[in-house]
């Protein structure tokens, strides 16, 4: 059964038709890379999946449940969908540990001790066990992004959405974040990531989705699609990126 399903999703910003009938089906354990030019609707797609944006037509289900922007629905959704942002969005007034523990304690109502155990385990996983008591501003961009990943993982989501999570990083810091993602992929977590890292998409990803002008223009197995693109648009895009 599919974990995330989009059926003929249309999204408008005023008159701007941003998503033009998206059909997409993602199964548990898949690592789906979404690629495409800036403005093609990649972020909007992710934001519709986790209820941050309203869509006007079609349907989205996550784990069999309908996605809406109703506050209550989004909160239920948050239990199965985690999101990592380009600019981290850590809470600057809390320590790393508090950032990771917050949602498990006040949303999942876990005890402090239990939440702390999880938080430490997640930070360990992203290689930042020693930063538990640091404040985010003391960390490098790569470390901050790894904290954001740990924060999302602490809610044990079924699927993790990542929107260009390495784009704001200095080049030398990209690797450490990708390594964490790769590890997660190996553990079998479902990942949907908007990315410009073609090597990562090819080597780690199971599927590539190419978006163009608000449509899923072409998709397929990551290795096949990237080495043998069918449409001119994708050929052009790959040529421009590589």
């Amino acid at each position: 059964m599919s974990l995330v399903n989009l059926h003929q999703v249309h999204k408008y910003y005023g008159d701007n038709h941003v998503l033009k009938g998206i059909d997409l089906d993602i199964k548990a354990g898949e690592v789906v890379s979404i690629i495409g030019k800036s403005g093609s609707g990649k972020s909007t797609l992710l934001r519709c999946i986790n209820g941050l944006e309203q869509y006007q037509e079609g349907g989205i289900t996550v784990d069999g449940k309908e996605v809406t922007t109703e506050d209550i629905q989004v909160r239920r959704l948050a239990l199965s969908v985690g999101m990592i942002f380009q600019n981290f969005n850590l809470f600057p007034h809390m320590t790393v540990g508090e950032n990771v523990m917050l949602a498990p304690t006040i949303v999942l109502k876990k005890s402090k001790a239990e939440a702390e155990t999880t938080a430490r385990a997640m930070l360990e996983k992203v290689g930042l066990a020693d930063k538990f008591d640091s404040f985010p501003e003391k960390l490098s961009g790569g470390q901050q992004q790894r904290v954001a990943i740990a924060r999302a993982l602490a809610m044990s989501p079924k699927v993790l959405l990542c929107d260009e999570i390495t784009s704001a990083l200095d080049p030398e810091l990209v690797g450490e974040v990708l390594k964490v993602l790769e590890q997660l992929a190996k553990e079998g977590i479902t990942l949907v990531l908007v990315t410009h890292e073609m090597n990562f998409a090819r080597d780690v990803g199971s599927r590539v989705v190419f978006m163009h002008q608000g449509k899923v223009w072409e998709q397929g197995d990551s290795k096949t699609l990237l080495s043998n693109p069918q449409t001119d648009e994708l050929k052009q895009f790959i040529g421009a990126v590589l």
Partner: protein, 216 residues
Amino acid sequence: MIEFSNYDILRNLMFATQWTILLSLAAFIGGTTVALTLTAMRLTRNPAMQRIVRVYVELFQGTPLLMQMFLCFFGLSMLGYEISAWGAAILSLTLFTSAFLVEIWRGCIDTLPKGQWEASRCLGLSFLQTLRHIILPQAIRVATAPTVGFSVQVIKGTALASVIGFVELTKVGTMLNNATFEPFKIFTLVALIYFMLCYPLSLYSKHLEKKFNVSR
């Protein structure tokens, strides 16, 4: 006529200063409370609520504080609500203070990146949880300096209560002036006392602002 020694003058002014301080505190506490309520109304994102707050701010920022006091004092009693000068002063200063604070705080909340709201939402925090754990702690840090700075305006605003007959520092100043005919001395002293009340707050506000700018 009674002779006023310098000591008498100072003693009277000092006594009156207590009332200025008390009125300022009452107005500041009242204003903060109302402003908190208004801020909550603004944050609900309910268009009707937001409209009410906008009109409120426009009304009380767009008319003279003195006129607000007259309306509270003479106006209300004409309409059959008896109100003392003290009550009218507190009421009008509360309205005035809250209208400015709600705008100041709005600026502070709006400087927080939208990503803070979105990240909270994605973690499953409710609106109130986001406010309490994410937005308010950060907004309060930003808002402290300008709020302390505005308290200076509140203290100065209390001087207008003298016009509706509330006996505070400025009123006692004019009374002493009428009795002694030494306006230069009296009003210099009155100004100095206000300065001694306000200047430390101004300095503290500046200090907070600097500290905050360094820490971020």
